[in-house]
Amino acid sequence: MAAVEAGLRQPRHRLHRDNNRQAWKMSAYRVHNVQRIDTIPVISGAPMSHGGTGSAITIDNLTKTFPAPGSGKEFVVIQDVSLTVDEGKFVSLVGPSGCGKSTLLNVIAGIESYDSGSVTIHPKAGRTGAEPRIAYVFQSPRLLNWLTVENNIHFVLEAQKVPRQRWRELVAKKLEMVGLAGQERNYPLNLSGGMQQRVAIARALAIEPDILLMDEPFSHLDAITARKMRFDLMEILASAKPTILFVTHDLAEAVFLSDNIYMMSTKPARIFKRVAIDIARPRKPEDETILDLEKTLVRDFFSVVEAND
């Protein structure tokens, strides 16, 4: 029953307006397991630490625990994480596999609960009143294989209540962006893995998100396809311009794509370093400055991770 149980009992965060700050806050509550849901709102009223008016996501002292199986003890997955993502920026979370960075993304997406701290999402400047739109690109495409490419995009447009008369234009525009014009009526299983992931990106962009969450979106692809996709992503984002929070374990990828990198250590997930990447765009992955920075960061990374072990 586990899959369905959990699926249907999603801890849905209610976004509620914080009128003083023109922002949307999520109410936090604990979920011990799927059978028992206690709602203990623990929103901290703490002001944003580094966020100004231009921040899109602000996370303050976020902590999340899971009950450790059997022992009845709590296992800390995320500890005291604070971070800010400025509007229109590309921010990466880099850490070893299993460090809880995907969990953090799920918390922001509202499909996982947390124990304490706060998550605040600000709608794009000029889009007042509406709930901020969050889109998610997962590790695997997660397409509905029984629907055509076009209907997969219609699915999220309908979910987000985008007026029907805009659908045709949005589908055409976004498929064109990801290089899949003309594939509207095709079924996902006829497409290669890379193309399926492109559909997933087009689907995410179609709702014109304020915030785009990406969880290692290229890690399932072969190196050559992934490289091509990274270039294309840069090009797409130059025009679409959402705020991006990108999770990866690949430092080279993070340095190439990001404006800022948060480096995370494992067990529990903690942020130990924030790096600004001030390298002009368009970038080349083999650029000296990029390679040098990557080397330095790799060194930092291992010194922290190994010290932890």
Partner: protein
């Protein structure tokens, strides 16, 4: 394409082989009172289709009433079973309370259920309905319940992050994932239904193919008995392979979809 022709060839071939075997056996036995040949049966069927039954009813009335009984009881138990199965999969209270009952219902021997239903409801249509529902509903429920358990949680998560509502989730995420289970429940339930209806007609109901079969059984006429059995089998084969198989291949077009189909 070639392999498709091959499978059709094999199917036809095996049926022809069985008929030949039957024919040879009847020739060897050389006693129409024990094993009439396939040709004798075929001509009896053709003759029966023009001969009124023991109550002066048309043979088509007997066939029609059997089909009507099958369809009514089948759909009633499909609907009940699907509802119960989904409720079990999607609601924890239903799951806990019904999970213990299902094996109890499943272990009840079908033939006994028919007798019990006849004792309760007499020789009436209600008896057939209750017998079928008592046997088929839990089968369908179990299948649908398994279907809900096998659903892909990652797709549900995806839909939830994009804020898909209940209806959208049901229509585009749950139901398509349940389709294979719906179809297998459909086929299995149908097979069970017609067997129970035949049984109920044989033992208790007035009119129907099973009734005719029992009528000729009482006369100890093997040719007629076999003729009515074959009529029944033939009808059910047509329904299963002609109707259900077609529906199924349409529902799963996306699996084997070629580019050409996708663009059509």
């Amino acid at each position: 394409m070639a392999s498709k022709l091959n499978t059709i060839g094999l199917r036809v071939g095996s049926i022809v082989a069985l008929l030949l075997l039957w024919w040879a056996a009847s020739k060897l036995m050389n006693d129409a009172e024990v094993l009439p040949g396939p040709l004798a049966i075929a001509s009896t069927i053709l003759k029966d289709l023009h001969t009124p039954g023991p109550e002066g009813e048309s043979p088509y009335f007997d066939i029609g009433i059997t089909l009507a009984r099958i369809f009514v009881t089948f759909f009633a138990s499909m609907i009940a079973g699907t509802g119960i199965g989904l409720a079990m999969g999607l609601n924890r209270l239903c799951e806990r309370s019904l999970l213990a009952l299902i094996p109890l219902m499943l272990t009840m021997p079908t033939i006994l259920m028919v007798f019990v239903a006849i004792m309760w409801f007499g020789y009436s249509e209600a008896g057939a309905l209750v017998a079928v529902m008592a046997v088929v509903t839990p089968l369908v429920a179990v299948n649908m319940y398994e279907g809900t358990r096998a659903m892909d949680k990652s797709l549900i998560d995806m839909a939830v992050t994009f804020k898909a509502g209940r209806y959208l989730l049901l229509r585009n995420v749950y139901i398509p994932q349940l389709m294979p289970y719906i179809f297998s429940a459909f086929r299995y339930a149908f097979g069970q239904t017609w067997k129970i209806v035949a049984l109920a007609e044989t033992f208790g109901l007035k009119f129907g193919i099973g009734y005719m079969f029992f009528f000729w059984f009482q006369q100890f006429d093997i040719t007629q008995t076999l003729a009515w059995i074959m009529m029944f089998v033939f009808l059910m084969l047509v329904l299963e392979h002609g109707v259900f198989a077609r529906l199924e291949s349409r529902a799963f077009a996306w699996r084997s979809s070629s580019l050409a189909r996708g663009r059509a």
